[in-house]
């Protein structure tokens, strides 16, 4: 056992090693997602489940499915993302790593953005890959599936970032699934409206640039503002451990 610790005591100033820390967080998140496959598979199965319920519940005719298909897929994606939210911070809060992560010298808002984008890649992109399959299941024409996938591609980061605010606020609360859904639903409505609006507009042959512009605006607004709210929420949740 080597008693003397080899490393000298050095006083450093902050603000160094941001990219390295970002890469580590991103890499770590993907690694955990790969190892804990269950957290990634659950939202996928949930997504598939919900979409296949609607034709059974309402009616399997092509005419209805074609008209309602986009809305069904959007609502199902929204709920699946809501489900994958507690994968974000809950495990790290339980084993104490969240404390260490909050106490790292890097600016927390940046780290949060990197972490949420890693979770987006790990658990939401698989959802998007499933969209064409589900679109065909709901008899959507190919070009409309393309527009649907595009709106989901722009809308899902907004859903995840806003949901992460709720996740950060409720990470210290036991079984907060329902609370999270209640907190976040009102904030999801605008994204849902413009997401499905774009697809229906495309169906009627109208131009969708307006909708995509607004979705893009929401995306940029959320990317800039949400990380600060998430960081504040995490600092609050970690305060007395």
């Amino acid at each position: 056992m080597q008693p003397e610790s080899r490393t000298p005591v050095t006083l450093t100033d902050a603000g160094s090693g941001l990219t390295r820390a970002g890469m580590t967080t991103f890499h770590r998140e993907l690694l955990i997602a790969f190892r804990e496959k269950q957290d990634v598979i659950n939202p996928l199965v949930f997504f598939l489940l919900i979409v296949s319920l609607f034709p059974l519940g309402i009616s399997p005719e092509t005419e209805f499915l074609r008209e309602a298909g986009a809305g069904i897929i959007w609502v199902a994606a929204l709920l699946a993302i809501l489900l994958s939210l507690n994968m974000l911070f809950r495990n790290d809060y339980a084993d104490g790593y969240l404390e260490q992560w909050v106490l790292s010298p890097q600016p927390l808002a940046m780290m949060v953005l990197v972490r949420v984008s890693a979770v987006w890649v790990a658990s939401v992109v698989p959802l998007l890959l499933l969209v064409p399959l589900l679109g065909l299941m709901l008899h959507l024409p190919a070009d409309r599936i393309g527009v649907l996938a595009l709106t989901l591609l722009m809308g899902s980061p907004v859903l995840l970032l806003i949901g992460a605010i709720g996740a950060a606020l409720t990470v210290s609360v036991r079984n907060s699934g329902m609370l999270l859904a209640l907190l976040m639903t009102p904030f999801y409505v605008p994204v849902l409206i413009f997401g499905t609006g774009a697809v229906t507009a495309f169906g009627e042959g109208a131009s969708i640039t307006g909708h995509l512009a607004i979705l893009g605006a929401m995306l940029v607004l959320t990317i800039v503002l949400a990380p600060f709210a998430i960081a504040a929420g995490l600092r609050m949740s970690v305060a007395n451990g």
Binding site: I165, T170, T185, P186, V189, I193, L225, A229, G233, M236
Partner: protein
Amino acid sequence: MWQWFHKLGSPKWFFGIAGRLIPWLGFGALMLLGVGIVWGLLFAPADYQQGDSYRIIFIHVPSAYLGQSLYVAMALAGAVGLIWRMKMADTFIAATAPVGAALTFVALFTGAVWGKPTWGTWWIWDARLTSMLLLFFLYLGVMALRRALEDPENRARASAILTLVGVVNIPIIKFSVEWWNTLHQPASIRMTEAPAMPASMWVPLLICAIGFHLLAGWLILMRMRNEILHRERRARWVRNWVLSQ
């Protein structure tokens, strides 16, 4: 002005001021609401289009307006609480959330009931009613989050963050619901803005609106006093006050 602002922060001083204000607010609310509602119900002329069903406006519009401005007030209190770490700000949020939720519910219910005679359905997905429904969820969210967090410090900071995020989203929600409504709603049954009202209609409405504000103020100040008594229960002045009751 600054000195007054900081005095506002001390619970004991606020408790005294609120104590003196409450009877006036209560009496004023009773008077104004009494006059406004009686005038609106009995003396205001019937609307040539909607007949007497429009009389619901005298409680629908003020409660809808208050439901929204109380949420904005909570967000402001949240910001003050976060920036200046003022405990009284959280007392305000704790007191206002239920009042705001109740008024938003009243607005929702009266709006729906008003829709029945006018359009034959109990609930229409009209832009304003839908955004009021979402505002109601926002209130429920704040109250549920506050109940879920035991630690007072966490509860204060969490509800401040949530109300601030909420207030940023309220215009976005309203805009997108308005836009969504024009897309799906044939123009004919769009809930019209308050029609150009003759004086005999908007005067009672104004009186009711002021009455509602006093009513909300009365309720909120009372609830804040309760909150202060609970939070400062170990302080000497609270003990003396409680024993003197």
